[in-house]
Symmetry: C2
Subunit: 446 residues, 2 copies
Amino acid sequence: MDQLEKIINALIANKEYSSLKTMLKTMNEADIAEIFSNLPTENMLRLFRLLPKDLAADTFAFMDADEQELLIHSFSDSELKEVFDELYIDDAADVIEEMPANVVKRILANTDSDTRKQINEILKYPEDSAGSIMTVEYISLRPDMTINDAIKRIRRVITEAETIYTCYVTDNNRHLLGYLSVKDLLLADENETVKNIMETTPICVHTTDDEEDVAKMMAKYDFVTMPVVDDEMRLVGIVTFDDAISVLQEETTEDFEKMAAIAPGDDSYFKTSVFRHASRRILWLLILMISGIITGVLISGYEETLQAVTALSAFIPMLMGTGGNCGSQSSTLIIRGMAVDDIRPRDFFKVVWMELRVSLLASIALAFINWLRIMVMYKDTRLAAVVSLALIGTVVMAQLIGCSLPIAAKKLKLDPAVMAAPLITTIVDAGSVLVYFTIATRFFNL
Amino acid sequence: MDQLEKIINALIANKEYSSLKTMLKTMNEADIAEIFSNLPTENMLRLFRLLPKDLAADTFAFMDADEQELLIHSFSDSELKEVFDELYIDDAADVIEEMPANVVKRILANTDSDTRKQINEILKYPEDSAGSIMTVEYISLRPDMTINDAIKRIRRVITEAETIYTCYVTDNNRHLLGYLSVKDLLLADENETVKNIMETTPICVHTTDDEEDVAKMMAKYDFVTMPVVDDEMRLVGIVTFDDAISVLQEETTEDFEKMAAIAPGDDSYFKTSVFRHASRRILWLLILMISGIITGVLISGYEETLQAVTALSAFIPMLMGTGGNCGSQSSTLIIRGMAVDDIRPRDFFKVVWMELRVSLLASIALAFINWLRIMVMYKDTRLAAVVSLALIGTVVMAQLIGCSLPIAAKKLKLDPAVMAAPLITTIVDAGSVLVYFTIATRFFNL
């Protein structure tokens, strides 16, 4: 890709536009969009005009919202119409969702009434719903058609459809009856009737279903397309696998961000302003800071103990750190396990039982190593016993908190990803201090 | 799903096998596999025999390795042959990879020599390579065929091919020349020649390419299938989108685990033994514990300072915690940004510049709030100044470390995901203690 960029820049510098045109025609739209995004605006606009009509629309769909806006501003009305006529309806709706009101107005004014109606259909569904990511361009067949009729119909409407991998069969009221893959169609005798070879009881989703659930279902069933129905079970659109993959990737990014105590944002790293970056992080930092202050107050409360046995303070960071790490290990496993439907909320006790045994095994191993170290370095049996016991208590507590909170969140219909490392660590920090000093005061009779 | 499980259990209890057979036939293979995995072994084996041949094979492909092993043990040789003849080659290779040697021997003994050869072909590629996840069942056309010939050929080989969404065009030596979608085929005139309508310069991957890169490319280009070629550019297989989604999900899980200091494992949460769970977590806990011990030693070194100004100790957890949280926010954004190719190693200085400004903005806000709190609660300007300055220093340091280490890891060809929260937190903990006490000793003239 770097090499391609260099070649293109050299050709632009020499104004060799006809070679550029030939070269761009052989390239994939996703690659062209990537290279365009690194060009100065002026060159991007010039090169975009070199693309053949269909490649231009495909490339446009792959570009970022701000580049799309720049292009739209530079388009004449007829150029705008050309691009939007070529775009698939779901891609057009995606573009429109990102544009300011005046640009949306201009786009809709330059699309034909049919397209406008279809775009508005998609725009009316709530963000993150199946309806908002579906396309209305699919192939529907009637149950009484012969295979021959069906193939004729497909040939007629094929240029409008985004995908023909699966054809859906509906009755006169658009109720979803079944589906046929292109493979079934090509394999069947041409005089056979559609209803005899179609798969009945199709799996489908509702327009208002969460897009993440839809994407997860498609991954589970290995579906290339998923039919979307309205409340009366009428087929209104399909979700295609490329949108499902995008949704899965966006949701994963959101989970990563939430699990690092960052408020999710829509833009990519470099497209986010410094101020927005800071504001996405500060709220959680403040909340977590308060818990840090509480832990500090707790430690201050044991000042006498610390002054009586000064060696105790040296172990606080190790205990707090290990507790935090154990808690985040457990919570991460559980949050990810629930995200991929490997762990369900009703597995709560199975999870707790597992984590309890794991934490005992891990903590005894860690405690033993610490015990050895303290015996060698401090030669103090009591200190070794206090630290080792506190470590066992901290690790067990941390793993139990780490596994319970995400499941509890899920049961309360909250996002489990919030119950991740930063929050768990802060809770465990305070807990480990309490465990440590409770054991220490007992053993040293303070 | 829960409801379906109840119905099936009730039918089994009443031995209503013919109703069960009817019911299972209407269901999707992924759902059947899920329900089977919750049944007692005996019932699972019995119900599996009720499935029609093709549905049985599809269901088998969706089951977990240990259930597949149970089934294989219960199969007669002819049943085994039936299932493996129906399976797609890549699914069969996946099953075989998970089985113990004696089971593999029995499976290969009961497949015909052609299938056996194809399976061995896939098994010879390294784990996690494109070759290991590809299927050899694809449709290839010759450039001189007419569309009519092509459709005839497709009809003839269609039952063997896993997918027909894209047909690949090769010469007599199997060199990849181009591709055609089913859509192109159906739209073209039947006397047209394949080479005139095919897309040339196809994007392809090599057998030894990393499966994650292949999956990311398919997501980038919105490909349903990706052709795989050998060193001489001969087409040897295709990767289908369902395998690409699985790879993306597995890689994401691995990233989550690494970022929580857990050694990645292959099995799901409940299928992993207690001992294995513990061993996946202990190594990192030990490494991180050592850094915790170092931080403790550092704090002990400032014992005199702490005894002179006892109030100082109360702020250590807050400083360490905030530093750790800021570091993990930065590292998470960078690691994820690199995973989705939004950030590249050569963006290093852009990232550092961004994080520097964000950290100044965030830390000044947090420092101001702390300054206010300390002035109200302690009425000590010097203490307020020390804590606020230490907070700014800690946050800036944490974010710079958090953003640099993952990029440095990537440049050194290490996995950036290892440079995540746990490791960064531990490094930052020691750093924040040093920053804090350096500032404190200056201000209090100690």
